[in-house]
Amino acid sequence: MNQSNLATGKFGEEIAKNYLEEKGYKIIEQNYKTKYAEIDLIAKKADEMVFVEVRTKRGEDFGTPEETINNKKLRKLWGNARAYTAWKKWQGSYRVDAVCVVLRYDNTMERINHYENII
């Protein structure tokens, strides 16, 4: 094995972060841990707080990253977002996004997709 899944995930998160920053998002937290789980990225754009789940896959031969976000994960993401906004006393609007990254085996990027408001 060339690289562990954990390392792939970290690498993907970096790519996603750069990608969002290029799109004009301001990253305010990375790998923020709440009571339930971890939030990969928290960003802000136009007064809206955006919670981002990053999914990275090395090749799509064994399934797409989109497929790995199931209902259970969606519920968890929503719970996280609510917990965070409550904790920070955030009154504005917020949403949950997903960024799916597919890498080639030489760690170059094959595609990156940003899905807004997935819940």
Binding site: E66, I69, A98, N113, Y115, E116, N117, I118
Partner: protein
Amino acid sequence: MLIKVPSVANLGLETIKVDVEVNLASRGLPGFEIVGLPDKAVDESKERVRAAVSSSGIDFPAKKITVNLAPADIPKEGSLYDLPIAVGILNSALQFVIPEKSLFLGELSLDGSLRHTKGALLMALFAREAGFQNLYVPKDSANEAAAIKGVKVFPVENLFQLASHFLNRKNIEPVEYQEIPDDPPAPAEFDMKEVLGQEQAKRAMEIAAAGGHNIIMIGSPGSGKTMLARALPGIMPSLNEKESLEVTKIYSAAGNIPPGGSLITCRQFRAPHHTASPVGLIGGGTRPHPGEVSLAHRGVLFLDEFNEFPRQVMEAMRQPLEDGYLTISRSKERVKYPAEFMLVASANPCPCGYLNHPKKNCVCTPRQVRKYQKRISGPILDRIDLHITVQPVDTREFSDNQKNSELLESSEIIRQRVVLARKIQEKRFEKDSIQSNAQMKNSHVKKYCNLAKEVEQLLRQASMKFQLSARSYMKMIKVARTIADLEGVPEITISHMAEALQYRPKIYESI
């Protein structure tokens, strides 16, 4: 982006328009959702559409797709929404224009080709009434839809072909309207001339076919009851255009039309086994389906071994026998199916089968015989116009007759007489809503069956002697009317009535 593709929903024999709305959202995770009360078959169309679109060489859009079948409060069933959903998705990818006044129907295969789908005729009828011009249906169902004049039917082989058609690359040629072929030969298992002897029974069959009367045959095993019944389709007149449409509608709704099939032009002969359930015979189910009585509409329902049918099944036929239609009521749906059929029943006289046999002795006790005969209920027997006893054929005559088989009347000759008698009836009932003598209500009898004094006297005497019920009394007049029609005589004479009286209800007379 929202795309609307019009389609239909069939509730029984009624058709309503359904708008298949396909929405591709720019936000959200890619997914595919169908709403608007889909049943399992409609819901599974997600997978068929996904595979069919990819197989046609078009990338399935990675967007959140929501399909709504409007109006959303009517339950949708079946596989016919595959095509409209796929067209909506293709439209988003290829940006073509869906022609106005079009309707879509069809089940998709995973490779993108279209399969024969039920209900094409119902959709075509609806299209004509509601003013839709273009119908896109699977190639195998196109003939069925093309039976309706005034609509353009496009036979679609696969999704790719349809996409090329809409992009004006290669057009699909619409199917021509198909005239109903004149007088096609009705397929029958036996010719009447193969039935040896049984002249009286054949005569009764002819009368039954001519007037659409119900008939019951009682006789010992092997006397030829089943053979007579199976020869019946050969002497029945073919359906006229209106009847043909009625029958095909029912078959289209039930999905009983074979791929490539068109209008049904010959009268249907249904012979369900006596283990049939009430719902199988009458129709029903949570989503009401037509039963055997409706599939036998304008045709023959043959019930062999009539007393073996469960009581419940027999009694359930009483209402359709009288009214010619039935309403199936379920908690969520009410459906009216026509059931104007001719009942042909056959039964043995007793458990051993040899009661009143000229040669063999019956071994049943009177109690057994009574119990056996009581299985057929009185009300049902009362609704049967012609009662005949089929005598066993003498095997010595049999070999002589076999040689003379060529001299016997063939089905074709009998059929010509039947057709003539039906023509007379058609003309007579031109302004009424009925077609045959058997359907006459009392008012019709009064209007069309004037009895001379001596004829009425004969009938009155007979009804006193044989204890005929009021209904049987009327039925005797109707049968006499048919006999007169067969002869082409306008007035019912005493000989017509005398013959009709031979066919009176008499099953209980033997005990």
